[in-house]
């Protein structure tokens, strides 16, 4: 009776998960065994509960992280399919809120400025973060502006250190070789945020970090801000 109740709960959570199925299987076995010894029964039921919990948690995490990436892909796909009717401004508008909410831009900016971060005042950091947010949205709005039957596919989710995840995806099209897009994600409170994007092995974050470091060193912070503003303007008026 008890296992049946668990089973219903499990069905409501997720039935396709192999880990979960094995937990349900163990529970059913316990039920079948119906051990008359209370200690053994409690131990086995505890074990089942443990299996159940740990089978469910990663599945949920994966799903949530994947959903963040797939929703972004959904917006990008709509932008590509309606590129002309939306125009640059429309594409920017469609992405802005989502990127601001689902990319951890303060952390991204801190990592990009790395050893310079502590040198800058709060105002300077904020100015950089605002500008970099605009650059990120502008880049997506400008880059994903054509549709040639591209499809986004989620391939796998790999665990990294400290509970981070790597969501591996691919853009496929008939004409071109597939492009791999890997999203590095971390959890903040109860939400999964994108912290880095790796396209065909090229990590945009470490690339920008090296580039911006060179500019700050050779020309100064003001020059970097000016050049980022120029880039945004170029995207606005192609």
């Amino acid at each position: 009776m008890r296992s049946e109740k668990y089973y219903i709960t499990a069905t409501n959570i997720r039935i396709n998960d192999p880990g979960l199925e094995s937990a349900v299987f163990i529970m059913e076995s316990v039920d079948m065994a119906a051990s008359p010894r209370p200690l053994i029964r409690i131990f086995l039921q505890g074990l089942c509960l443990y299996c159940l919990l740990f089978a469910v948690t990663p599945a949920f995490a994966d799903d949530k992280a994947t959903a963040v990436v797939e929703n972004l892909h959904g917006i990008l796909l709509e932008n590509m399919q309606q590129a002309d009717s939306r125009g640059y401004a429309g594409r920017y508008q469609a992405l802005a809120g989502y990127i601001e909410e689902n990319f951890d831009l303060p952390l991204i900016c801190k990592v990009i400025l790395s050893r310079y971060w502590s040198k800058f005042s709060e105002t300077e950091r904020q100015r950089f973060t605002d500008l970099f947010t605009r650059l990120t949205i502008a880049t997506y709005a400008s880059r994903f502006s054509e549709y040639q039957d591209e499809q986004f596919h989620t391939l796998s989710v790999e665990p990294l250190k400290k509970g981070r995840l790597l969501v591996k995806t691919e853009i496929r099209s008939a004409q071109e070789d597939p492009v791999s897009l890997d999203y590095l994600m971390h959890r903040q409170d109860d939400r999964w945020l994108i912290i880095s994007v790796v396209a065909n092995g090229i990590n945009d974050l470490s690339l920008k970090r090296a580039e911006y470091g060179t500019i700050i060193k050779d020309e100064g912070f003001a020059s970097l801000l000016g050049q980022i503003e120029d880039k945004i303007r170029q995207y606005e008026t192609p």
Partner: protein, 262 residues
Amino acid sequence: METRQFKMFFKFLLVVVFISFSSGCATTGTENDVEVTADPLEAPNRVFFDINETLDKHLMKPVAETYVAITPEPVRKSVTNFFDNITYLNVILNLLLQGKFDEAVAGSLRFLYNSTLGVAGLFDISSDWGVPARDEDFGQTLAVWGFDQGAYLYIPLQGPNTVNNVPDYLTSYLLNPLTYVTSTVLFPLSALNAVNTRANLIDETNIRDEAAVDPYTFTREAYLQQRNYLIHDGNPPLEGYDDIFDEEFGGEADSEGVLVIE
């Protein structure tokens, strides 16, 4: 015959000079908890980069754009296929050297089919049959054997490379059947290859020009990361992938560190 031998000797000499010149300078260090890949050849690299960029802007890119405008896409595709196929023996050699025997056999069949049924490589029938081209070179082989990539090297007229990939010029030169044809055929074909290769990179360089605030650093970082990706056949190890997020950012801002995710 003598000219050819001289050319081969000259190329070999160039390779030896490059290696001895560069390998002594290549260093990797740790600075402020940030793993840094030094760019010991940055000064000469930047000079050659600027020369190449100027040449490219005024000569190669306009020529490549004209070529794209007047040559139908299928023809350009066949030109690419032809040069990819004729240089494929070098890929097969490196698959063997890396111990990827199954893939070396598949690669040999690929070369055989494309060279015959694919009309001297003009048509890539093997990809349609599920044997896509692999990207291997001697630098990747050395990396598989445990050597690091070596210093970043920007070669005049050639573009980005690493010191450890320089011997690849020798193997790909010796294993390219075109090496053994007369110069009256070789020179026009080499020119076509150069223009076609540049044409294939137009989108990439446009993206770079659009995105880069410092084109030299952008090219270097993108190239080195792409190399790492190729060395691991598109599946770089995940260890250390996110180290960048575990660093402390309180260090001095005087070093010239460049981070490479490995």
